[in-house]
Symmetry: C2
Subunit: 280 residues, 2 copies
């Protein structure tokens, strides 16, 4: 039994899609989340820089207050760039979102035609391509970088027609192909799943890599006998969400997506790492 | 989302083994439990009588206060005697413990030699035998009635040597056979799993039918979008445990097994059904 929170990190609000699945599947687990909104998007950045940011965040969560019992890198770009580094440097289990997405896609596809949409960084890393090929060398993988979908989510745009137009445009290369499975290879994308499904058609199954990662989290908690106790239960009013950017838009998206009130605090981020802002 | 409790019923404390799994696997679900200790053991009773008792309990749980959203018949004898009757008469999903135990045993056995220990009533019903045969006609099933294990659990005996002697004696027909899987076909028996494992040896895998039933409960909650919300969370101080027998021994076993404080109330049981005792 371990009552510490599970930590989550992302370049912004995308990792909230993994948190939403965790609140559903592991409701009795506290959440500590860092969205590095100041330095987003991660996609166009150098691998070493993304890995460094991810490690700063992991260290902040691990070393502050009671720490965390497990870290989810709820960001595909940061997983591709930094998973081994964080696993090496942090004294807790670290889970990424790519391998769970790969395994779910391999289970889902019936015709072995799989699409991947992700940031440029994730596409360039070939992490999904390599993972899928390792699982089934006969698979046909179509990877497309769709960076505008990240900024679309973070913009909190509400005009449905405008959102659909951006999504359809970004997916142009995949529409009309034979893929029966599409990996949402960026944790921001499930926030656009309706629009993506609409653009792709019902014959395509969307794989939510961030949500799949929660199965691995559950397994690690069980293997380590590390679930939160039931007496007392976790209290989600004690969960903490941090952003390195502006509190208000982050809170707005988080509360709308998670459908609960959330407490958001501001973190200063610089070359030396993260620290809580004085006014908080 | 449905914040009502899940109901559990048993002839005594045995169903607490299913509750323990639920508290672990579905921590955010309230519990309402009835142990019909006054009228236990169910094993030697006529089928119609057991089915009637089970229906009385189901109706009490369903009709009192906020009711329940699902009933687990956490008792093999009552499942064999009354599952279809309760499913027909109660307006909520009703889950038994036999089919989940059958499916787990079929998944577990490697040599198709499966043992079943249960009450006389469950053995006579052939519910496990029929279920196993329907799943795999090539299976070899050895059923043994071990009613003394029920009274052993309810007696709350603490002398380890004495407990082991009773268990080894009751299992005599199975010890030394080729079975590689043993279904604990009575929810009381997991409370003796250490002694049963000791008597059978490590080559035999024990199947906890009551715990397996919680997988089916989880699936039904998901299919009906009926999990308890996370804001606020369930509070296990609000869980209720009822017994038709003496409060003190029930509470002692329940708190020792579940490892949390429990509130126990007394129910009057007669031919007209169940009702809360005046003094509560």
């Amino acid at each position: 039994m371990d009552n510490r929170a599970i930590g989550y990190m992302d370049s912004g609000v995308g990792g909230l899609t993994a948190v939403k699945q965790a609140l559903y599947q592991l409701p009795n687990e506290q959440v500590k989340y860092v969205g590095d909104t100041l330095r987003m998007p991660y996609g166009p950045r150098r691998t070493e820089e993304v890995a460094k940011f991810a490690l700063q965040i992991g260290q902040y969560l691990n070393e502050t207050d009671d720490g965390i019992k497990l870290l989810v890198i709820a960001c595909n770009t940061a997983t591709a760039a930094g998973l081994p580094l964080l696993q090496e440097h942090l004294p807790i289990p670290v889970v990424g979102v790519i391998q769970p997405g790969v395994e779910s896609a391999l289970d889902t596809t019936e015709n072995n035609e799989v699409g991947v949409i992700a940031t440029q960084g994730t596409v360039d890393s070939n992490a999904y391509y390599n993972g899928l090929m390792a699982g089934n060398p006969g698979i046909d993988v179509r990877q497309v970088a769709t960076p505008d979908l990240v900024t679309l989510v973070e913009s909190n745009l509400t005009d449905e027609a405008e959102k659909q137009a951006v999504v359809t445009d970004q997916l142009a290369e995949l529409i009309g192909t034979d893929i029966d499975t599409l990996i949402l290879g960026c944790t921001h994308f499930p926030l656009l799943s309706n629009e993506i499904q609409q653009a792709m058609g019902d014959q395509v199954t969307l794989v939510n890599a961030g949500a799949e990662a929660i199965n691995l989290v559950e397994q690690i908690l069980d293997d380590n006998d590390a679930r939160h106790g039931i007496y007392p239960m976790a209290n989600h009013e004690d969960d903490l969400y941090f952003t390195t950017g502006d509190i208000e838009p982050f809170q707005k998206i988080a509360e709308s997506w998670l459908e609960i009130p959330v407490t958001v605090k501001h973190l200063e981020a610089d070359d030396n790492g993260l620290s809580l802002s004085k006014e908080d």
